[in-house]
Amino acid sequence: MDVTLPRRRLCFGLAAALVAASSLITTSTLAQPTFITIASTTSTEQSGLFKEMLPAFTKATGIEPRVVALGTGQALDMGRRGDADVVFVHDQVAEEKFVADGFGVQRLEVMYNDFVIVGPRVDPAKARGKDVLEGLRRIAAARAPFASRADKSGTHAAELRYWQAAGIDLGKEKGPWYRETGSGMGPTLNTASGLNAYALADRGTWLAFKNRGDLDIVVEGDQRLFNQYGVMLVNPAKHPHVKKDAGQKFVDWVVSPAGQSVIAAYSIGGQQLFFPNAKPRAEPARR
């Protein structure tokens, strides 16, 4: 039995495997134009807004934006760890804390949409109406199934604020009717659709959502359902590798008339999803 031949063949085979593996990896990472990493929310991605908006930005600047879509809490955490150049999210309280803690440079308001409560068309809790707090009180009183994001997202933070404002102590009232999915907006809507449960959703994701089953909007139009989006550059002073110039270009573009008009133009089935409301800036971009 020859024992040297197999060894040579095998060593050759293993070396070939390594070379093949590394060439497979490098071919897919070579030749990149300037890119920036944007930590954003599932609502901007899953509603289809980014598909419309990002190519326009690339056309204007030549910069390739790479979006990682997470819940707002997770997206801010990505910025805090320095894994993103720009954060584009919707939870004003958390965003202001992010900037105050020195992780973001400056928070700029970009656009808004609104939250809606969706629920079974037959509305067993009789929550239908314009008043979000009254709607939630009725859902809790009826112990009607409610699907909560429970993932520290902007939508989850807003939901918790509404329960509190409605005077409902979830700690005490929480029961089998209150389902914490711990997942994104889409998966939570899938759960709500399957259980015929109520849920708080941003209108953008709802409009783009296809697996609605028996669900429909039951509460909308309340002033308090306003949902503001903000954008900020991750602080290069904290994370020196942040692509400051390219990132700032994105921030500047989103709040510029060009960026704002792209946002205004995006609609699904004739319904506008996001309403640009960046303030005209008194001072030119800093730095």
């Binding site: 039995m1 024992v3 031949l5 197999p6 060894r7 063949r9 095998l10 060593c11 293993l14 495997a17 390594l18 093949a20 593996a21 590394s22 497979l24 990896i25 071919t27 897919s28 990472t29 990493t37 599932t42 899953q46 598909k51 790479r66 979006v67 990682v68 879509a69 760890r81 320095g82 894994d83 994104g184 907006m185 889409g186 998966p187 809507l189 899938n190 659709s193 783009a208 959502f209 296809k210 697996n211 609605r212 994370h239 590798h241």
Partner: protein
């Protein structure tokens, strides 16, 4: 039932339509999973064979650990790789997070134990058959490793294919370390997860059928290669 049928039709349309975006996603999936399977094999095969023939203290514990790693939770691997590659982590300066390379790293970590555990079993069985012969030839245990691997190459091909299957079907770790970035790190599985999130279940399932087709083609190719090789070399 009707929905599944509709998905099959949609899958057929996707394959027929040759949508360039889909083609890119399929190509990336294939490329990264093959790279991970090869890397995992390069680590796992020698490791498994060494454990098979080796006699060292704690060998049983190593075997149990290897077998247990077959059930390694992918989310845990994803988190570990994420924390290593994050800018705040030890390898942060490499800037690899959210790149295809990060995906291959996570996938290889999942594939290597599978290959090692299965190769260990295969080589141990082969060792039982050849031990006497090889020792009488004066071959040391370490030097018997390549002989065993070569001799068992056809069974080990299946092992590597199992590793490829794990890599190609992986979603949890790939989502965490890749970030599912459109055009950069979006692979079949994360695309399926995204369409599921959007509530487009028929499209998600259609993509799933395409993925199954890809895995089937790879396995068919490996089988063909094996047949050809057996006929040629015996």
């Amino acid at each position: 039932m009707f929905e599944i049928f509709a998905s099959l039709q949609a899958a057929w349309a996707l394959v027929n339509g040759a949508d360039p975006a889909l083609a890119r996603i399929v190509a990336l999936s294939l490329e990264l999973s093959l790279a991970a399977a090869l890397l995992g094999a390069a680590i796992g095969l020698p490791l498994g064979a060494l454990v098979a023939v080796g006699r060292f203290p704690g060998r049983r514990a190593v075997i149990v650990a290897l077998n247990a790693l077959l059930g390694l939770p992918s989310v845990v691997v994803g988190l570990l790789v994420y924390l290593m590659l994050s800018r705040a982590g030890p390898l942060g300066s490499w800037g690899l997070l959210f790149t295809p390379t990060a995906i291959v790293m996570a996938q290889s970590l999942l594939v290597a134990p599978i290959v090692a555990a299965l190769a260990r079993q295969t080589c141990e069985d082969a060792w039982r058959d050849y031990e006497e012969q090889l020792t009488s030839l004066g071959v040391s245990r370490a030097r018997a490793v390549p002989t065993l691997l070569w001799d068992a190459r056809y069974s080990l091909l299946t092992t590597v294919l199992a590793g490829f299957g794990r890599a190609a079907s992986e979603v949890g770790a790939v989502m965490i370390v890749g970030g599912n970035i459109d055009g950069v790190t979006r692979v079949m599985t994360t695309a399926i997860a995204l369409e599921t999130s959007k509530g487009d279940l028929p499209l998600a399932l259609a993509l799933g059928f395409v993925l199954i087709l890809v895995v089937l083609v790879v396995n068919a190719a490996a089988y063909g290669l094996r047949e050809w090789s057996v006929r040629r070399h015996g």
